[in-house]
Structure formats: structure tokens, C-alpha cells
């Protein structure tokens, strides 16, 4: 934007829109002339794919004689597996009385009787929903993944917090770990670690480690240098400084790291069960393959409940005054439920009694069937209108344009929005995609993402503005947004599938539901933080509410809105890839196909890499606008 301003000022006196409009005209003209040439059509048997498939076969054949597997990867698998078995057997041995009692006690210690009540109610909910065993399996899997994530993440985070060089080395790795759609690394992961609980735990760790590292690093780097110097001047060794100064002072922020790690791990539960990790995810997958929302919903609710319980417990640690010590009374009070629970183990059945469960499968299915038949006209209209008006024209535009023209357009837009360095990164990613041989599918995925982002931003802006202007609306909306963010994304797929059939629009709908909440939050926040004097000045000079919004609040909230766009894009991309399961096709389907058909492994792997490149490209194009280095705080509640 600054470059146009400069050129406009320097003599020619062109209007501000002249340069972009001129570029657009040139690009459009080039499209008309070169349309249909150099389009890089998709080929299922591209040499790139076949080479990767062959590599996979080779690795698979040498799994039991290659030293890398024998002395390294297989041991990791065995170690994680043994740890998981330990967690699982302990939890199952406790049975429901034991787990309820112990969770209640831990919650009491963390945050007093209120939190303890939440924990006991939450744990009982697993039983009432009829999902006791799956919930315990999930708890064991999440427990292992979180424990190991912290065991690796906290030391690395401390190191990154203390040394700027370490931080620079770690950051790009974390970026890739977070931007990569979780779906995309399942197939390669299954190749190295096979399937089952250990592989599931490792997949979860890949996703849960980055926040552990980032937040720990932040916590350590924020420790006041005065305290550190004081300790050094008193002759403390480096180790003493670390253990006695850094860690205690960073404690509360590090509790936040634990909290975020748990939340991330919970959001991987469904994905992990695609490679046969036990737990609630299995129920959701079953619901998806039977097309029964009634099976999926209770499992989704159980995951949300688990998230709420663990969130309250860890947030209570974050909020606690670091100087209070545990009182003996609290210890006693916490001991009672724990002791009661453990004492009741032999008396009560281990599994939740069936008579105390409620079964809502049939009711939920009926409700969905009703909506399906009665909303048919509306949903078909929405689907067809979007598909024929936006999706199909844009897709044919992108797939019929020569690849160099698309690259040129990306370079121009990125340069203008985010500056030359990021524009060159974006261009490099795009060229990488072309070399990988998945150009056509990438263009199709990009179309779906673009339409989804457009809808997300429109809806997010409307809701965000409404929430900023009416506190009551905001209060009503907030819990809904919270639930939408914690609910596993897969749960949205099914109602969307019922309403819209197996189409790209289904994926778009699911990703809009998934990505709208953070956009709403950012927009609401952006408008709210416009300084009150500015608003008052505008009002006192006679602005109508409409003028106030369009001329003052929205322009001043621009950075927040651009950040919202950036986040929306990354989240939407992740969801569109999952949409490959239900008709969204393109890169997402290539990935799905890659881990369900062995002959397509190469294509799936390459498509996964391409998704990462596409994600980085879209991120870089939009990132410069808000000047934040790595704005991905998904699922912050």
C-alpha cells in the first residue's frame, strides 16, 4: 500500500486504484490470450508419486532388518506403547469409582471445591453418555501424549527461552508442525510407527508439542532480568538460577503451556483413531461411516466435557496466587473423595452401570432425518447457488489459467500485501507445488479454500460487529463459539453431509463452522479496542452509527480483521483437507486415498507436502498485513 501512495504522490497524479486496476487488467488480458495453455493437468501416475510409493514399499520390507528401525524407531514405538499400556491398565483398574474420586481430589487441590464438582460431574457424564470405556481409553492416550509432549517441550522451550539462537532454529520447525494439516502426516507416520495406540500418541504429540515449546519459551524469556542478575550476583550457579529463579517465576505461564498442550492433544483424538488408536475418536469414525449423527454426537460431547474439565483444572493452576501454599484443610478435603473412590473400587462395578446411561442415538438420528427432509429446498438452493455462482467459475478460471500466470498473480498480490520477502517465499511454495505434480488439484483446493474464507469472513464480520455493538448478543454467542471450537471438527462433517450431500459445499460448510469463532472473536476484540476518545470524537461531530462503523471502527480495527483473515485461511485449509473424506476431492482426497490405498501412498504423501506448501503460501500472502510473526493461536479459550 505504501508503494502506491508513493507513486501516486510523485508527479503522475494517478488515482490510488489505478495501479492495482492496471495490473488486474493486464492479468485478465493475459488469461484471455493464454487460456488453456501450460495448465499442468493431473496425472495419477506421475513419476513423483510412483517414486514415493516405491520408497514406501522398500521401507515397509525392511522394517525388521534396517538398523534405523531396529535400534531407534521401533524402540520409540515400544516405549510409548508400554507407557500407554501402563496408563490404560491403571485407569481401568481404578474403575469409575476410583477415577471419579481421584479426579475430584486433583481438581480440589488445583482449584477448590467448585472445580472438584465440575470434575466429578464431568467424569460421571462419560458414564451417563454410555461411553465410559472409550472415554477412559481417550484419557489414557491424551495422558501419555501430554506427558511426553511436556517432557520434550518444556526443556526445549526453556532452551529456546534462554537463547535467541535456539529460538530462531526452533521456530520454523514449529511453524511447519502447526501449519501441516494433521491429516497429512498420518500416512507417513503409520509407515514409521505402524498403527495402534503408540502411533496415535506420537501423532498427537506432533500436534501438541509446539504450544508447549512456544509458551514455555515465552514464559522463560519474560522472567525479569533483575531477578536473574540478583541471583547471579549472589553466586548462584546456572543450574540454581534455572531451578530456583526461572522456573518458579515462570510457573503460572507454564501452567498455561500445560493447558494448551492438553487442549491440542484433545483435538487430535479423532485423527489419531484413523490409525486405530483406541478411544472416543473410534465412535466418531463409526458415526461417520454409518452416517448417524446419533452415534457421533455423544462422543463429540464427551470430548468437549473432557476438555472443559481439564481446562478448568489447569486454568485454576494458572490463576492461583503463586505465594499461597496448600492448606492442610484442602489436603484433607481432597483426600476424602480420593479415599472414598479407591475404597469403593471393590464394591462397585468397574464399568459404569448400564441402567444409569441415557441413549439418545435414535432421537438424534430422527431429528437429523427431520431436518434433512424439511430443509431440503433451502439447503439445495444454498449449495447450488454457491457451487454454480462461485465455486465452478473460480475453479475453471484457476485450472484453465497457465501456471506462470497464476504464479505471477500470486507474486503481485503477495508483494503488495506483505512485501517482497514474503512474496518470494509464497512464489517458491507455488513453484514447489508445480514441481510436485499436483498443480491441478492444488488449484481446486485453493478454490474451495477461497470460497470458504470469503464466507467465513463475511459471517465472522457480521457476527463480530454485532457482538461488539451489543454486549447481550456477545454474551449469548460466547458459549456457542466455545463449544464450536472445542467440538472435534469431524462432528461438523456429518450434519453438513446430511444437509448438502457429498459435495465440495459440505466441506465449505464444515470449515466455516470451524473457522468462524476465532474470526468473530478477533473482529469483536478489534472493534472494542478502538480508543473511546476516537469514538466519542466521531459521535460528537455528528456521525451516524453507520458512519461510525464504516469510517472509524472498521478502518481502525483493520489489523485485527486482517489477522482474522489470516487465521481463517489456515483453519479453513485444515478443514477442507478433512473434507476430502466427504466429497471435497482434490488434495484432501489424495491424502485420504494415500492412507487407505497402498498403491496411492505416493500421491497422498506428495499431496500432504503440497498442502503444507499451500498453507505457507496463503499464510505468507496474508501475513504481512498485521505484522505478527506467527499468528496461530488456535483453540485458545
Amino acid at each position: 500500500m505504501s508503494s502506491t501512495a508513493v507513486s501516486a504522490a510523485s508527479g503522475l497524479r494517478l488515482p490510488r486504484w489505478a495501479a492495482p486496476a492496471g495490473v488486474a487488467v493486464v492479468l485478465a488480458a493475459a488469461y484471455v490470450v493464454f487460456r488453456g495453455t501450460a495448465t499442468l493437468p493431473h496425472d495419477d501416475e506421475a513419476p513423483q508419486f510412483l517414486a514415493v510409493t516405491e520408497l514406501r514399499e522398500w521401507i515397509d520390507d525392511h522394517r525388521n532388518d534396517n538398523p534405523l528401525f531396529l535400534y531407534f524407531l521401533n524402540y520409540i514405538r515400544l516405549f510409548v506403547g508400554a507407557l500407554h499400556t501402563l496408563f490404560q491398565s491403571v485407569l481401568h483398574a481404578l474403575g469409575w469409582p476410583g477415577i471419579t474420586g481421584v479426579m475430584g481430589a486433583l481438581a480440589w487441590l488445583a482449584g477448590g471445591w467448585r472445580v472438584a464438582l465440575v470434575a466429578v460431574a464431568g467424569v460421571s457424564a462419560f458414564g451417563v453418555l454410555g461411553l465410559w470405556e472409550s472415554s477412559v481409553d481417550t484419557l489414557a492416550l491424551v495422558g501419555v501424549a501430554v506427558l511426553l509432549s511436556l517432557a520434550i517441550g518444556v526443556p526445549v522451550g526453556v532452551w529456546a527461552g534462554l537463547s535467541a539462537r535456539a529460538r530462531r532454529a526452533v521456530t520454523p520447525v514449529l511453524d511447519v508442525m502447526q501449519i501441516m494439516p494433521t491429516f497429512a502426516y498420518l500416512a507417513p507416520l503409520a509407515l514409521f510407527f505402524h498403527i495402534g495406540a503408540p502411533a496415535g500418541a506420537i501423532a498427537t504429540m506432533i500436534y501438541a508439542i509446539p504450544p508447549a515449546i512456544r509458551i514455555t519459551a515465552l514464559a522463560v524469556s519474560e522472567v525479569s532480568p533483575t531477578a536473574v542478575e540478583a541471583s547471579a550476583s549472589l553466586g548462584a550457579t546456572r543450574r540454581q538460577t534455572l531451578v530456583k529463579v526461572y522456573l518458579p517465576l515462570a510457573r503460572s505461564t507454564m501452567a498455561l503451556a500445560v493447558n494448551q498442550t492438553i487442549m491440542m492433544a484433545l483435538s487430535m483424538v479423532v485423527i489419531a483413531s484413523l490409525i486405530s488408536a483406541p478411544g472416543l475418536g473410534g465412535d466418531i469414525i463409526r458415526g461417520l461411516s454409518r452416517a448417524q449423527v446419533g452415534i457421533m454426537l455423544p462422543a463429540g460431547v464427551a470430548i468437549v466435557v473432557m476438555a472443559v474439565v481439564l481446562d478448568r483444572m489447569t486454568m485454576a493452576l494458572v490463576d492461583r496466587d503463586p505465594h499461597t501454599r496448600l492448606r492442610r484443610l484442602d489436603l484433607l478435603a481432597a483426600g476424602v473423595p480420593a479415599a472414598a473412590g479407591v475404597a469403593l473400587i471393590p464394591l462397585l462395578p468397574r464399568v459404569w452401570p448400564e441402567s444409569l446411561t441415557i441413549n439418545v442415538v435414535a432421537e438424534v438420528n430422527q431429528a437429523v432425518a427431520w431436518a434433512e427432509t424439511n430443509w431440503y429446498a433451502v439447503t439445495t438452493f444454498a449449495k447450488d447457488a454457491t457451487t454454480y455462482a462461485l465455486l465452478n467459475p473460480l475453479e475453471s478460471l484457476l485450472t484453465s489459467a497457465p501456471w506462470w500466470l497464476v504464479a505471477l498473480a500470486v507474486l503481485t498480490v503477495a508483494w503488495r500485501v506483505s512485501g517482497p520477502r514474503r512474496a518470494l517465499t509464497a512464489l517458491a511454495c507455488l513453484l514447489g507445488i508445480a514441481l510436485l505434480g499436483v498443480w491441478e488439484h492444488t488449484m481446486q483446493t485453493m478454490t474451495t479454500v477461497a470460497v470458504a474464507v470469503l464466507l467465513t469472513l463475511t459471517i465472522g464480520l457480521v457476527l463480530g460487529v454485532a457482538a461488539a455493538r451489543s454486549p447481550r448478543f456477545s454474551a449469548v454467542q460466547r458459549p456457542l463459539l466455545d463449544a464450536a471450537q472445542t467440538m472435534p471438527a469431524f462432528v461438523y462433517l456429518l450434519p453438513a453431509l446430511a444437509l448438502f450431500g457429498t459435495t465440495r459445499f459440505t466441506a465449505i460448510f464444515a470449515s466455516v463452522v470451524y473457522a468462524v469463532p476465532p474470526v468473530v472473536r478477533l473482529v469483536e476484540d478489534g472493534i472494542r479496542t478502538v480508543p473511546a476518545p476516537v469514538v466519542e470524537a466521531a459521535v460528537s461531530t455528528g456521525s451516524t452509527p453507520g458512519q461510525l462503523l464504516w469510517k472509524v471502527q472498521l478502518p481502525m480495527a483493520r489489523p485485527a480483521i486482517l489477522l482474522a483473515a489470516n487465521q481463517g485461511i489456515v483453519m479453513t485449509l485444515a478443514m477442507v483437507v478433512i473434507g476430502g473424506l466427504v466429497g471435497a476431492g482434490a488434495l484432501g482426497y489424495d491424502v485420504v486415498s494415500g492412507f487407505s490405498q497402498r498403491t496411492d501412498f505416493g500421491m497422498g504423501f506428495v499431496a500432504g507436502v503440497a498442502t503444507v506448501l499451500l498453507g505457507i503460501m496463503l499464510d505468507r500472502i496474508t501475513q504481512g498485513a498485521d505484522r505478527r510473526p506467527s499468528p496461530r493461536k488456535r483453540k485458545v479459550t
Binding site: 525388521n64 535400534y71 461411516s289 465452478n392
Partner: protein, 324 residues
């Protein structure tokens, strides 16, 4: 720091297993833990039957699971695992039994002959055929539509918002056995495969197509309960001849009629005792499977309830499976 930590883990592992190196099934290291939650199926141990994503399979699995639990006193786990991944489960101990296997000669070669982690456990008694189907009203209305040579003539009928200017061929779960892409390419059909994602998507589309007289060409298979409710007609592709599907990229013929069979892990065959005998003896007809699957899909029953109903109604059939 990370590397040092991992190195420490490896060192620990090495110490624990006496430097033997570890294979994935955990048998090489003498003390490698194989999972107390039931990796090995001893007498009265846990039997893990993989659940592939179609209801006929689930019907068989639930009946076998019911008998294992109630007649032989085993615990049974039914993890959701898709076809090809389930074979890997034989290697890791996550799967003991695949109760209904559709062909997969390549996997048999790899896991039975080369890796020797699985063995065949005989036929299920079910005959399986995959094919392309249309609702019956279309066969009545459009002469010759059931011949693949005429499909291009009618391609326009099958256009949807997802298939663009080609006809749509609706496919099911991405993990299903599939020659669709090769068939379309090699028979030069003007069609595009659109993936529905699940069996349920196929069933619903087929029902709507017949009731609302909407055109639909879709991938489906027999045995399936849907045939007794909705009239479907199979499209004739070039007939199957021995070996015409040998090269998956060059397939230009219909699917063969397959003798569906059971595959079990080597470990389960060796140590499963009576449970293994029962799985091996299990054999029933397409009608039996359809009855259970119908109860599960349309009768509102869980797999366990439907299995119980069938078991109570057909003692003479299953009593022959119970090992003496």
C-alpha cells in the same frame, strides 16, 4: 536437548531388551512388553476383530463376537480399522481377525507369504460381487443403458454439480476395493468418479434415486440388504476373465465373483485355541448376513442386539461352529 533425550530413551530400551534390536511385533527383544491390555490372545483372552466400514462386515463380526463372548467367555474388541490398514494390524497385534476379506491378492502375498504374520482361515460362505448399479426405473426408461458401450450416450443424465460436464459415478469409502479410475480410463467413458465417503452415502443416494426418479450410477456390492428393498440393476461391463484384473492400471473388465474369506493373525492361529476354531468354522449364507445387517441399519438395533436376535433364531447354524 531433544536428541540427548531420545538417545537416553534408546539407551534405556537397549538395556531393557538386551541389545537384540526390536521388531514391530515386539517378539525379538525377549522382555519387550507386548501390551497387557490384551495383545496376545491366550485362552479367554481378548480377541480383536477389525471392523471394516460396511454393514455386512459388521454383521458377521458382531455375530462372531457375540458367540465368542457368550459361548466361549472371551472378551472381544471391535476396533474401527479400514481394509488395508487392518492387515498391518496383524503385524502390530492390533488386529487378530478380519472376518470378511474381499480378495486382496497383493496383501495376501505380502502379509501371508512374505511377512508370515497372517494366515487364511477359510471361507465365510458368502459370495461377493462388486459392480456398477443404476435404479431400476432408469433401466426401464432408457433402452440399452445397462450396456457399458451405451454409457457415454447417456452421460449427460448423470451430470451433477460435482462432476462438471462429465457423468458422475458415485463411489463409497475411499478404502474400498476399486478399479473405477482404470475402468473409466480404459473403457474411454466420459465419467468422473465422485467419492461419497461412506456406505451410507451410497445407500441414501440409491434410495433417493429410485424414489424420486433421479438418475444415479453408483458403485455397490452384493451381499447387501438394500437389494431386498430397492430395485437396482447392474450395468454390464466387459465380462470378467481369469487374470484380466492382474494389472490394476490396465483393468478393463468387470469385477469377479469373490469367495469372501477370513484372515487371522499368525499369533491368533497359533495361540487362539477354541476362539480360533470358532472363527475358522464360521460360515453362513448371504441371506443370514443380510438379515442381521438389515436389523442393524433399519431395525434400530445395535450390532450386539441384532447378533443376539439372529443367534437365538438360528441355533442349528451356529452350533456347528462351536468347537468341541
Amino acid at each position: 536437548m531433544k536428541i540427548r533425550l531420545l538417545a537416553g530413551l534408546v539407551a534405556l530400551g537397549l538395556a531393557a531388551t538386551g541389545c537384540g534390536g526390536a521388531t514391530v511385533d515386539g517378539t525379538a527383544g525377549s522382555s519387550a512388553p507386548t501390551g497387557g491390555a490384551g495383545a496376545s490372545a491366550g485362552p479367554s483372552g481378548t480377541v480383536k476383530i477389525a471392523i471394516n466400514p460396511w454393514v455386512g462386515y459388521e454383521a458377521s463380526a458382531n455375530v462372531v463376537a457375540y458367540l465368542l463372548e457368550n459361548e466361549l467367555g472371551h472378551d472381544v474388541e471391535l476396533p474401527e480399522i479400514k481394509e488395508q490398514l487392518a492387515w498391518e494390524g496383524f503385524e502390530t497385534g492390533d488386529v487378530d481377525v478380519i472376518i470378511e476379506n474381499w480378495g486382496h491378492p497383493d496383501l495376501k502375498k505380502q502379509f501371508i507369504e512374505e511377512k508370515k504374520v497372517a494366515v487364511e482361515a477359510g471361507s465365510t460362505g458368502n459370495k461377493g460381487v462388486i459392480g456398477w448399479y443404476i435404479p431400476k426405473w432408469m433401466a426401464d426408461e432408457y433402452p440399452g443403458i445397462t450396456d457399458y458401450r451405451n454409457l457415454n450416450k447417456y452421460a449427460e443424465l448423470f451430470r451433477t454439480s460435482e462432476s462438471g460436464d462429465q457423468g458422475q459415478l458415485l463411489f463409497g469409502d475411499p478404502s474400498y476395493v476399486s478399479n473405477e479410475d482404470a475402468l473409466i480410463r480404459n473403457l474411454k467413458l466420459d465419467y468422473k468418479v465422485v467419492v461419497g465417503g461412506s456406505e451410507a452415502a451410497l445407500i441414501k443416494s440409491a434410495q433417493q434415486a429410485q424414489e424420486q426418479r433421479r438418475p444415479l450410477l453408483f458403485y455397490f456390492w452384493d451381499p447387501h440388504w438394500l437389494f431386498s428393498e430397492t430395485e437396482l440393476v447392474r450395468v454390464n461391463l466387459p465380462p470378467y476373465t481369469e487374470g484380466c484384473d492382474a494389472d490394476p492400471k490396465k483393468v478393463a473388465c468387470d469385477y469377479p465373483e469373490m469367495d469372501l474369506d477370513k484372515i487371522v493373525s499368525k499369533r491368533f492361529a497359533d495361540t487362539g485355541g477354541k476362539a480360533y476354531e470358532l472363527v475358522k468354522n464360521f460360515s453362513w449364507t448371504n441371506e443370514h448376513q443380510n438379515a442381521v445387517a438389515d436389523d442393524m441399519t433399519n431395525g434400530g438395533m445395535t450390532g450386539e442386539e441384532a447378533a443376539k436376535k439372529w443367534v437365538e433364531a438360528n441355533p442349528s447354524v451356529w452350533q456347528a461352529w462351536i468347537p468341541k
